[in-house]
Assembly symmetry: C2
């Protein structure tokens, strides 16, 4: 990683930075996950998005089990250096539920709605590789 | 807050959830900040976005010092209930630097670029109310 970027990145107390993934052409927000220093370095070096899985405590190469990876188009950082925005080209669906993006729950004061459909069943998605 | 939403929200150990603000019509990602239960309740009740300021440890009614508030268009939650997506109508600029959004640093392996201009000086922005 170049020194200029390294100086700007502000990790939290777990050594992580939240990363928003946005489809580069449509503007759709696909998901949010976390990156540590290794994930950032691998993503910038390979042009394929790699997160840090907090539940598995390991590098999470998006698509390694679902087949639905993310090609990096641009890597952006916010004014405080504590949030990353990844402009990506999503292969298949981004969400583990089989929906295209993870933000399918719409909440009003009176209740919640599910606003997008499952495009592929999780069984099919995680069995296909 | 309705019980359905309350059951889905997953706060971190500080009682906070990250919230991404996206301009509802253009898809521009404006900023990311944090919300606690009170901020969520106030936002849903008033239709004006209220965050929790981690630095000030108090409710942060976006625009209260800058004049640049956010009207809530839709409140969305992700599959895990641990990230909020706010579709908003941004008044003025979102970033405290005077840029329209906070994600103005573009990083490559070799260095970083500033990709958007300041639209209003912070002095003018924070002095105008």
């Amino acid at each position: 990683m170049n020194a200029e970027l390294a100086k700007l990145l502000k990790y939290n107390s777990d050594g992580l930075i939240p990363a928003i993934a946005q489809q580069h052409d449509s503007g759709e927000i696909l998901m949010m996950a976390w990156m540590n220093k290794d994930a950032i370095e691998e993503t910038l070096a390979n042009g394929r998005v790699c997160y840090w899985s907090r539940s598995r405590q390991s590098l999470w190469r998006k698509g390694e089990s679902s087949g639905n990876g993310q090609k990096l188009i641009d890597f952006r950082l916010d004014c405080d250096g504590d949030t990353i925005l990844l402009l990506v080209d999503q292969e298949g669906v981004a969400c583990h539920t089989g929906r295209h993006n993870c933000f399918f729950i719409s909440a009003k004061e009176e209740g919640v709605d599910i606003i997008s459909d499952v495009e592929i069943s999780p069984e099919e998605m995680y069995g296909k590789k």
